[in-house]
Amino acid sequence: MERNQQLRRQLAAMRQSLFDQGYLDEQFIQLEELQDDANPNFVEEVVTLYYRDSARLLSSIEQALEKSNTLDFNKLDTYMHQFKGSSSSIGAKKLKAECTQIREYCKAGNGDGCVKTFQQLKRDYATLKKKLESYFQVARQAGPKEIASRSK
């Protein structure tokens, strides 16, 4: 099954680059370890749930940021705290760091910093989503049991 081998190699490479580029951390590996025959698509399911829930939170954050003159830093900080928490569930390393950064800006009352970092966060959020979607697509093609060889 050469095609399968190719797919698996591609899959492993995609996975590795997500870690190398700092998009994912340890927690993602925890999720992979929970995936088994009883839950063959567990990781994809969890990620899908995350993107569904966080979409709502993100639009609340955007609304809060639109009022740039009367920015409610406390509210924004609460949202970022929430977003950071849920991002940590899937091991979204970059997004977590960006949340922390925005929270720092909130404490300092730096509205510009908040807005700029949030724009970056949105881009990384979308990039991660695309990358994970491709990853899961290849995973499904490669075969249900094999998600990736966890080479250290």
């Binding site: 927690q27 925890q30 009883a38 567990f42 749930l49 829930d53 928490g85 569930s89």
Partner: protein
């Protein structure tokens, strides 16, 4: 599709009441969290221990379940932060009125420190993201507490004196 040993009560879509015909052997765990990815992770971890897990994303649904199905649930695992709900009141209600052991989960360490300060041993705590082995350890602790029900009441008496609502 969920196996028959677990039932899910979601908030966004219709509430599907999937109640098993017979009450299965195994402890009844109710997991409450508005974060659906967390809920899914916990459900999967707990299912590995062959417990009967019910998941819930809203406090009001959780309370209804606990009242309707008294005796089915043995322990509640719940996040303390849920929008539009006083998490603290909700958990105290479960612990005292409904009289079930509660494990509090949160990604905020500070919240846990505060709760520990107020409630000491009354709750067990886990910080998110939760590891499977942590769940195992806490579980033994909860069972021990349940079996020491009488002793617990003696102890909790002194806590209530300190924490007048």
């Amino acid at each position: 599709m969920l196996p028959s040993s677990a039932a899910s009560y979601g908030s966004s879509s219709q509430v599907d009441m999937m109640v098993p015909e017979q009450f299965p052997v195994g402890l009844g765990v109710l997991v409450v969290d508005d974060d659906s990815s967390c809920l899914r992770i916990l459900e999967t971890m707990l299912r590995r221990y062959l417990y009967n897990i019910t998941t819930c994303s809203q406090a009001t649904t959780a309370l209804n379940l606990l009242r309707k199905k008294k005796g089915y649930f043995d322990v509640v695992i719940s996040d303390i932060h849920m929008p539009n709900v006083d998490g603290y009141k909700f958990l105290e209600h479960i612990r005292l009125e409904i009289n079930l052991p509660v494990i509090i989960i949160s990604f905020d360490e500070r919240v846990i420190v505060v709760m520990k300060g107020i409630h000491h041993e009354a709750y067990d705590y886990l910080i998110k993201p939760i590891r499977e082995d942590e769940l195992k350890n806490i579980w033994q602790h909860v069972i021990r507490k349940k079996w020491n029900g009488n002793k617990e009441i003696e102890h909790s008496g002194s806590f209530e004196d300190n924490n007048r609502r």
